[in-house]
């Protein structure tokens, strides 16, 4: 226990603890699951921490708008937690938050590719609060330019520029967004990895455990998808994945790329993973079960961060990740209730609920 870490994380720890207690309880989840329809879901949510962001005219609150409003809560939470977190941990959180910015940028690039209008694209963007490099104005300008190369020139002031401008040549040659999106994904995760390594001591250890687990999940699923769905060559899979992680080693990724039995590789890393038999027989069918298992594994890792010594970056990171997963589950729930999906189907899709 160091004085420095206690002083640095005192306020954020107390704040996160207090906010952690406002996350949805099992009783609330039960009420949400039992809700008859979308309106009933809104009634339950209005009594929770999401209540204030859902206080808009009920007629305007269709499922898509409701999800957007709920995501605004996440933006606010990120903003508050980043604001209270001291350096250098704060930089990790900012980098973490930028995943949404990268997703928005990808949505913008897709908009340019399909010739969508700004009005169509802006509804697809995740709400962003402060701590962004790319503004809504930038993305609007990009869409209005209507041309990929010109759009990329418009974000010359951002770190995404170098990545995109270099990948542009491949986009122009292949007429596919794939190289642009993969370049952004890889670059973002390399930045995240660097942010972890700028931390020291317990902060580094905790960030590696939590954020490293998130990177593991992405990397592993990428490798499997590239092989199963895209049928990429060994070299391509290796080049499109990351050589680092927490539990997933480079050898594991190379083994998958080289044609090894995917189920065996996954079993070595996650012995209790679901859908392994299916993964052996028909990888595309087992992938959904594996993905759900991995996301639940991330949730478990985050919850574990709240045990033990509390003055480290793991607490805010884990809390934000748990909020993200809660909101992901709420999104699934809202959509499921709107389309009257059976309860059993819905339950099997949730990541934070057993």
């Amino acid at each position: 226990m160091s004085v420095k870490s206690v002083s640095a994380y005192s306020l954020i720890h107390a704040t996160v603890r207090a906010r952690y207690s406002t996350m949805l309880t099992p009783e609330t989840w039960n009420a949400l699951m039992q809700a008859q329809d979308f309106d009933a879901v809104l009634n339950v949510l209005s009594k929770t921490v999401y209540g204030p962001c859902l206080q808009i005219e009920r007629q305007a609150l269709n499922p898509r708008r409701a999800v957007y409003q709920i995501k605004r809560h996440l933006a606010g939470t990120y903003q508050k937690i980043i604001h209270l977190t001291p350096e250098p941990g704060c930089q990790l959180l900012i980098q973490f938050w930028r995943l949404y910015e990268v997703d928005n940028l990808k949505a913008t690039l897709r908009g340019i590719e399909t010739g969508a209008s700004w009005d169509q694209v802006r509804h697809l963007l995740a709400p962003m609060a402060k701590y962004t490099i790319l503004t809504t104005n930038d993305m609007e300008k990009m869409i209005r330019s209507g041309h990929m190369a010109r759009a990329i020139e418009l974000i010359g002031h951002t770190p995404y520029y170098n990545t995109l401008v270099h990948a542009l040549e491949r986009y122009q040659a292949e007429k596919s967004l794939f190289p642009l999106e993969v370049a952004l994904d890889l670059d973002y995760r390399r930045g995240l990895w660097q942010s972890i390594h700028q931390l020291t001591g317990l902060d580094h250890e905790q960030a590696l455990r939590i954020v490293g687990t998130v990177l593991d999940v992405d990397n592993l699923l990428w490798a499997i998808r590239y092989r199963v769905y895209h049928h990429l060559s060994e070299q391509e899979i290796i080049n499109y994945t990351l050589p680092f992680g927490y539990q997933v080693r480079d050898e594991d990724i190379r083994a998958i790329a080289g044609g090894a039995d995917i189920a065996q590789v996954v079993k070595r890393i996650y012995p209790g993973a679901d859908g392994l038999e299916q993964l052996s027989e028909q990888p595309s069918a087992g992938l959904a079960a594996l993905e759900l298992y991995l996301q639940r594994h991330v949730v478990k890792t985050c919850r574990a961060a709240f045990m033990g010594y509390p003055f480290h970056i793991g607490i805010p990171v884990a809390y934000l990740l748990l909020c993200e997963h809660e909101i992901k589950d709420l999104t699934v729930l809202v959509e499921a209730k709107d389309s009257h999906l059976p309860l059993e189907t819905l339950t099997s899709m949730l990541e934070t609920q057993p």
């Binding site: 002083s7 107390a14 603890r17 009783e27 039992q34 305007a60 104005n137 270099h166 050589p243």
Partner: protein
Amino acid sequence: MFRSQAMSKVELVVPEHDVVPVTEALAASRVFHVATDEHVGTENASRRASEWQDRATTFADLERRILTVMEALGVDEGPPPSETPHLIWPDVAQMDVERLEQEAQAPVQELEEEQRRLTQLRRYLSQLEPLADLEMNLGTMRSMRYMFVMLGTMPAANVERLQSSLEHVPFVLVTLRREDHLATVVLFGMQRDAEILDRAARSAYLNPIRPPETYRGTPAEAIAALQAGIERARQHIAEYQATIEHLREARIRHLCHLLWRMRASRTLVETIARYGRLRYTYLVAGWVPVSQLPALKQKVKQVSDQVTIEVSTPRRKEDSSIPVALENPPFLKAFQGLVTNYGHPSYGELDPTPILALTFPLVFGIMFGDVGHGLLLVLLGLGLASRRVRALRGLASLGPVLIACGSTALVFGFLYGSVFGFEEVLRPLWIQPLRDIMGILLTTIGIGVGLLSLGMIYNIVNAVLARRWGHLLFDHNGLAGMVFYWSLIGLAASAFVGHLPISPILLVALAAVSGLAVTFAELLGNLVEGRRPLFEGSFGTYLMQALFELFETVIGLLSNTLSYVRMGAFAVAHGALSLVVFIMADIISPAHGVGYWIVVALGNLFVIGFEGMIVGIQTLRLEYYEFFSKFFSGNGVRHRPLTLIPRGEE
């Protein structure tokens, strides 16, 4: 002080021709919180709103264009003007913007074109420079028969990955140059592996270099031609930059003024777009602190004598949408910050700031009782609050909190008889935690019971204010919950103490009745408040859920109460840590020489810094987690007065 400022709902009926000046007056008053979506359903609202919305879109577009011009000319937007500019109509603004764009367009476009050319030439140059000594025609490299050769640039971060991806294929990858994030490389391999190598190179984002056909011959010859081209491009750029600088000087003030005027206009029209609309009038609804009403009315009447202003007190069902403007004296502002860090109270809900200002220092003082340490904290707080130390100005708002906490620590220092850890200098006025551990622990549990009860009382008062009778009577933090809690405490006390003035049978009966009320709080609450159905789902499920909730309530009350033991534990730890300091000082200097006093001084600094911080955290945790959770939702809406230009303090 305990309540937020009383709000009035203000509804204005504004003639069409006065809507702009009236909105400007509302913004200038800086007290008018626009009620959103109030008149969305009004007849004609959508058509008229869309006209204003179109204007807002035009302003947004014009703002973007003017920013583009400013960016091109290197003009910063500067600080907002001291006086809020008036509305500029979109067609007037559009003409102005178009003129500015035309002025800037030609030199800027030419400059950009030349800069692009220069960048491209430099890129070719940097790619060819490593090959300068190669006596080989560039064209020959492209037509090799048995060898695969690819010269190109790739992200430096990908080089290692590309190498490792090709471990099963014979190849040589030579890095010729590394610059920032890019590496210039040449990849050699066998022509028979061309497909593998090509796919690997592409997936590593290796972009092959293809200099324009105009640059022929050996790399050295191409480099010389490129250098001449670069020199010409530089001269052109200098000429264009001079033209742009001249234009910048001439237009800088006008551009800044226009930008802020457009921003204010955009906010103005967006606000009007949200108003309701009748045939010739607009309906404006909003919230104003009652105390500010006369000033607001006067401001509006100054710009239009045809505005009808209706003021009403808020209806109960509107409570969740009424904005909250907290009203606390300046010395409580620091504690108000701690409250708003958690959330804003809802309208009509009690503001916990005053009670936090009392309980926070009290809890801190109990845990950190020491005259000397308290005095130092007071001095530190005064130093911060005075803002004299430039580096600590950012922490100035913490000053009053430290002063309050230091003062209570000082008072408890006298009660504990502790000064800088010395426990023999002062006679304790009450208790010495280290010598009566059980006493201090039980006392702090008692204080915890008091604080939790206070939280419940707050919750009861909030329920009365909100007229939520069911909540008031049956909630686990309401009357039933409080009786249940005190009955359990009474039973526990009678088990330990033995004799109480109240009969244990009566306590058991009270606990049973109140426990039942808490168990069926939802059902009873709905019954009292006339809501149907009385419970969701089947009775069996409800019963199961209710029993679990009772169990959770009991566990919650127990854990919340025991949480306050930490106050006593920290009071003991404070004494114990000081004791350790003295033991160490004695070991260093048994004769109480200079070494002894150095250790005592350093030890005291350690105790203040380290333990002070932990105690601060624990205090915050007890307030947020144990105390606030009894009565405070933090789901209120902050009062945000309409303003056309955002300013620093907002």
